[in-house]
Amino acid sequence: MKSVKKSPWILHYDGSSCNGCDIEVLACLTPLYDVERFGIINTGNPKHADILLITGSVNEQNIPVVKQLYEQMAEPKVVVAIGICATSGGIFAECYNVVGGVDKVLPVDVYVPGCAARPESIIDGVVLGLSALDEKHKALKHKAKQN
């Protein structure tokens, strides 16, 4: 279904980011980049969101939080790891409390590298996430037909 790709609603979660990537995520909403052109809305509510953007590495404290946010999202859903910390842990990878990238906890669909990730690459990552979302939607439909 085309409309799945035309209206991706985003939930943004800050793992243990230095706020560099967070500011770049918010920059996407500004008039210069204006992601609402693609129907993207920053929802701030897991039950409304299709795409979970996570910035920063995952640490021992926020594992349950990240998991709960993911579980509360309705199917089909996609996870996009923004910035090098979210993809691998980055320079914080060796810290005693850091578990590593988001993929240690959740199934990540798109990795967006960069420190901080540029708004252009964030938008690119979300658009890549859309095709993953479309595939998941088709898989769900297929599953529903089989049942």
Binding site: M1, S3, V4, K6, S7, P31, D34, E36, R37, F38, G39, N42, T43, G44, N45, K47, H48, D50, Q72, A74, E75, P76, H137
Partner: protein
Amino acid sequence: MTLLITLAIVILTPLAGGLLTGLDRIITARMQGRQGPPLLQPFYDVIKLMNKESMQVNTMHRFFVYAALVFAVFTAVILLSGGDILLAIFALTLGSVFFVLGGYASNSPYSTIGSERELLQIMAYEPMVLLTCVGLYYTNSSFFIRDIISSKLPAIIYLPGVFIGLVFILTFKLRKSPFDLSMSHHGHQEIVKGITTEYSGKDLAVIEVTHWYEVIISLALVYVFFAFAMPLSHLFAVMACLIVYFFEIIIDNSEARVKWQQALNSAWIVTGVLGTVNLIILSYFR
């Protein structure tokens, strides 16, 4: 014939409401220096939501939003087919009450706060809606819209104060700033997603479609003030509706959200002053 008209109203009303909402989003974006989404974006959103999983918090949670939709459709059919405006307004209020109950049903703190705020909003705008009906009856001696829009003079001539009061409280009904306390379209935090916080998938789509009906219902009340026996006046009335909607968008983009005390006080002061004074003056001339 009646069946055909009803069917047309049920289908065309949300289409018009959705298009207006899309236009609203583009105009809002342009006012903020952005390009904005495509015109059909609200439809893409709703179709997407239809295809998503709907999470059920408890058994009654979903029932209430569907009940709210049924009453919104009922109101639209009565209003647009020229029926009794008083009956329409009561049905609309019942729909709003169902929506509030839906917020309370989930037991989530966010939607409970949303429901409480929605109740305050209903308290704030309901007196003015009733005064509008009273005023229209006072000028035309009929609650039926088909009588009101075929009178010799438009109702706006008798009821300018009531009309301004109605435009004031339409900000609540259209969920625009400064009176979007319970559920905002621009909410980035859970608390201003209010009642809708716990809804997802199809249920959220139903809430959105209900809002499209409410947009058209609100504008139908504006229409009634301008339309009269002259055929050309109906075109003028449609233009008046669009101007009022554009005005609401400007207010939405230039005003910050107010506290509930200010929302309630200002709405009641406007109702008390403009609405009742207008009716009192009218009573001297008749």
